[in-house]
Amino acid sequence: MIIGTTVTLAFRAIMRHKLRSFLTTLGIIIGVAAVVTMVTLGNGATASVKESISSLGANILQLRPGQGFGRGGGGPRPPDFDPDDVTAIAQQITGVRAVAAQAQSSGTAIYEGNNWSTTVNGTTASYFEAQQWALQSGRLFMPEEEEAGKSVCIIGSTLKNNLFKQEDPLGKQFRIKGVSCQVIGILATRGQGGFGNDQDDVVVMPIKFVQRRFTGNRDVSMIMIAVDDAYETSAVQSSLEGMMRERRNIKPGDPDNFNVFDTKQISDTLTGTTTMLTQIVTAVAGISLLVGGIGIMNIMLVSVTERTREIGIRLAIGAVASEVLLQFLVEAIVLSCLGGLMGLFLALIATAIAAPLMGVPFLFDVRINVIAFAFSAAIGVVFGYFPAKRAAALNPIDALRHE
């Protein structure tokens, strides 16, 4: 018998029992939908984590005083860095693409009737180079402006929108913490940072100006180091740590009083966590798919018993065992494939609804759809074979007598 005919027969048998067929495939529908939805949403979550991390800049090391993010327990406050540290890093560590010293402060910016509380970041032009953060308009600091600590600033888009509204801020003067400052550049919008902070809510000024007018000392509170792509970040990190221990006179065995924060490492950790969670949920969903397969086997076995007489008729009028086997097998496969298709459709709807609610991008993954569908078809083969085998082995005389 031709395969096409068998498929026709299978469709007829399925359509004859619509409700039963639907209930049979429900397990597959839910299983496939669950797997595909979880993987798609998981991929979206991973992508959004990666995106927010990469907005910190790729291969960036941040050198801060103290251990971890806090400034340490009750002991003396670890000293900040000094400008010579920055020069030393730039000159002595191999694999460094750019180094930028930072001195941070905060204050309220005032322009005409508007005021806006923001972060003041004192740094150098290499800060933008290190983070590969482009300007939307205007220009960077000139070396002589940095050297002299002139009162010029580059502002982020959040500050621009809140302080200047529709006006073009370039060349305008605004006041911050009692000093006046001229806008020379506007940064391109970056969006949320890895910790949910708004990176665009910032005013960047030459570090010498911030030190002189705001912090009152020459301390550098943070150093940003961009690692050349050709070098291993970890190697650069360890030579950096070695040098800093030496420069800060830390005795062997004593703990560091500074820390190096690797954005790539954070990115890997967060991505790894999301991926692992996705895998766990997918595995659970996969189990439900397996249970769905067992459901199909169950119903097919019942179906074989219920249709014993039909099988007897088919055998009597000249069906050979392999044709009966094929018929039941194809029926199981068609059932599970239909279930798979419905599951994919359901997953499409579910992800399209859930992705915006969860705030993750909706990434349609062809691969997982193909895999889930192939898996549902395979379930049809595996769990359909046993009932089909049983049907084919029936004795026509007994089958015809079956009530």
Binding site: M1, R16, I313, A316, V320
Partner: protein, 233 residues
């Protein structure tokens, strides 16, 4: 037409079970059925007539002895070879009709052609022709539940003859019908026998039905008791 046996049985025995519980259903049956004959098989329950029919229908094999059908030694064929023999030369009509439920008359009749591998169009044409022969062409799209018992049996007969078999085996075809429908069915079988050249072999309990046959074979205790010429011989 005579002396051209379509079926030859020589010393056929059939034993069910083994050891002390073994039951000998057939104790040496010798039988010859001519091509074109209309045979009624009679006998009380347990006389071996059903077992004989199963063997004649190539559904079962003898425990010993020879069974030649169409020149094939059926006792030497395996399951699938016998299925192919059934597909090609045999038509079955059962007491309980045995139609597929929730399936139209035409689809039921087409079923044997599906296994023969006929194309869709050829199947439909042959199926409708067979339904026409039993007078049910207008009912082709009705399911068994929508047909009367007599009509269902006609559909079953259409299914049996759609492949143009040499031999039609009917197991108490009128057992579930009233006498009026029974006579209609018997007339249909007689017509098929006389005008389509199909050899008919029918098991029946009712002498009235056996009277339609040309040859009547009586079974008793696993052997052929007697063979007589029927009223129409």
């Amino acid at each position: 037409m005579l002396n051209d046996p379509i079926i030859t049985m020589r010393g056929v025995t059939k034993v069910y079970g083994e050891g002390p519980t073994a039951f000998q259903a057939l104790k040496g049956v010798d039988l010859e059925i001519e091509r074109g004959d209309f045979v009624a098989v009679m006998g009380p329950s347990g006389s071996g007539k059903s077992t004989t029919m199963n063997i004649l229908g190539c559904l079962d094999v003898p425990s010993a002895g020879e069974f030649l059908f169409h020149g094939h030694h059926v006792e030497r064929l395996d399951r699938d070879q016998r299925a192919l023999l059934r597909r090609k030369y045999l038509g079955f009509v059962f007491q309980g009709f045995n139609l597929l439920s929730r399936t139209t008359a035409l689809e039921n009749v087409e079923l044997p052609l599906l296994y023969r591998g006929d194309e869709r169009k050829a199947r439909q044409e042959a199926g409708l022709a067979a339904l026409d022969k039993v007078g049910l062409k207008p009912w082709w799209d009705h399911t068994p539940a929508e047909l009367s018992g007599g009509q269902q049996q006609r559909v079953a007969i259409a299914r049996a003859i759609v492949t143009q078999p040499d031999l039609l085996l009917a197991d108490e075809p009128t057992g579930n019908l009233d006498s009026e429908r029974s006579i209609e069915i018997m007339e249909l079988l007689t017509d098929l026998n006389q005008n389509s050249g199909i050899t008919v072999l029918m098991v029946t309990h009712e002498p009235d039905m056996a009277a339609f046959a040309r040859t009547i074979i009586h079974f008793r205790d696993g052997v052929v008791e007697s063979i007589e010429k029927g009223a129409r011989a």
